[in-house]
Symmetry: C2
Subunit: 200 residues, 2 copies
C-alpha cells in the first residue's frame, strides 16, 4: 500500500497541529507548499524560526518585543509613567494604541483568570504588575480586560490585590458603542449606559 | 503608534499567504507559534523545507516521490505494467491504493482541463502519458478522473489522443455508491446505474 511521501506526511502533521486546522485542510496546505517556489518556502520557514528567536517579552510590561531591554513604549520618554493600563493580550495593546488617545504605559497579563480553562492567577503576569506598582510612581491602574465574565472577574481580582498600594484603580467605561443602533443594543449594555450617563 | 514586533508581522503575512487563511486567522496562528517551544517551531520549519527539498515527481508516472528514480509503485516487480490508471492528483492514487484492488501502474496528470481556471492540456502531464503509451507494452489505460464536467472532458480528450496507439481505453464505472440510499441518489447517478446494470 502506497501513501504520500514521508516528507509530505510530516508536513501535513505539522499543519494539523495548528489550532483550527484539521487533517484535510492540513493536507491541502501541504500540497500548496509543494506548489510554491523554493524561495517562498524558505521565507516561510525562516519567518517561523525568526519569530520564535527574535521575539521576547518586555521585562517591564510583558508585551511582545524584539531585542533586549524594555519595549518601545516602556522606554519612550513621551509616555506617562504614572498610569498603567492592564490588558489581557498584546492584541489589546495594538487596539488601544490604534485609538491614539492613551499616553501611559501598559501591562500585559497574557490571559485572564479562567477556571474552566485551568488558568489561575499564577499563570498570568500578575506578580510583575504588583512589583511595578510596589516600586512606586504609579498613580492609576486602568483595568482594560474584556467586558465579559472572565475579564470582569480578573479585573475585580486585581483591583483587590492592588488595594494595599493605595493607587487609583479604574475600569474602562461601559456604554453604547459609537456608531451603533439603540434598537439593537443588548439590555445589559443599555443598563450600563444609563448608569454611566454624563451631563452634557 | 506601536504595532506588533516586525518578526511577528512577517510570520502573520506568511500564514496569510496560505489558501483559505485570512489575516485574523493568520494572526491567531502566529500567536500560537510564539506560544510553542522552540523545538516544535524548528520541527515545523524543517518539515517545510524538507518537503520542498526531498519530494520530486516520479519520472515515469509523475506521482510525488522521495529520492531519485522511479517511485515505489513504478519500480515494484509486483505491479502489472500493461495497465495505466490515469488520475488527476496524487490524492487519487492514495484513494485507489486504499481500495487494495488495483495492481497496475498510475499516471498523475496534476490537474484537469479547465478553461475557467486557465488550465489547458499543456499544463497537464499529458506528453509524458503519450510517451509511456508509445513505448509499447501498455494494453489498457483506465481513465480515473473525477466524475464531474472537467474530469469527464479531460477523460474524453485523452481517450481521443490515445486512439492512434490502439490501446484499450476504459472509464471507471458509474453507479450507486456502496452503502448509499436509493431514495437520496440523484437522477443522473440513478440513470447511469440503470444503464450500467449487470446480470446477477
Amino acid at each position: 500500500m502506497q501513501y504520500f511521501p514521508p516528507a509530505l506526511e510530516r508536513l501535513t502533521e505539522q499543519f494539523a497541529r495548528l489550532p483550527g486546522i484539521g487533517h484535510k485542510s492540513a493536507q491541502r496546505l501541504a500540497f500548496f507548499i509543494l506548489s510554491q517556489p523554493s524561495e517562498a518556502v524558505d521565507a516561510f520557514a525562516s519567518a517561523l524560526t525568526d519569530a520564535k528567536r527574535l521575539i521576547s517579552l518586555c521585562p517591564v510590561c510583558q508585551n511582545l518585543t524584539e531585542g533586549e531591554g524594555p519595549c518601545a513604549i516602556c522606554s519612550s520618554p513621551k509616555r506617562d509613567k504614572s498610569t498603567i493600563c492592564v490588558v489581557a493580550s498584546p492584541k489589546d495593546v495594538v487596539a488601544i494604541e490604534r485609538a491614539r488617545e492613551y499616553e501611559g504605559l501598559y501591562h500585559v497579563l497574557h490571559g485572564v483568570i479562567s477556571p474552566m480553562n485551568h488558568v489561575g492567577p499564577d499563570d498570568l503576569r500578575i506578580k510583575e504588575l504588583l512589583a511595578r506598582v510596589s516600586e512606586g510612581g504609579v498613580e492609576e491602574v486602568i483595568m482594560a480586560t474584556n467586558p465579559d465574565t472572565e475579564g470582569e472577574a480578573t479585573a475585580m481580582y486585581l483591583s483587590r490585590l492592588l488595594k494595599p498600594f493605595q493607587v487609583k484603580v479604574t475600569r474602562l467605561a461601559y456604554g453604547i458603542p459609537v456608531g451603533s443602533n439603540l434598537e439593537y443594543t443588548d439590555d445589559a449594555t443599555l443598563m450600563r449606559a444609563l448608569e454611566g450617563r454624563r451631563e452634557m
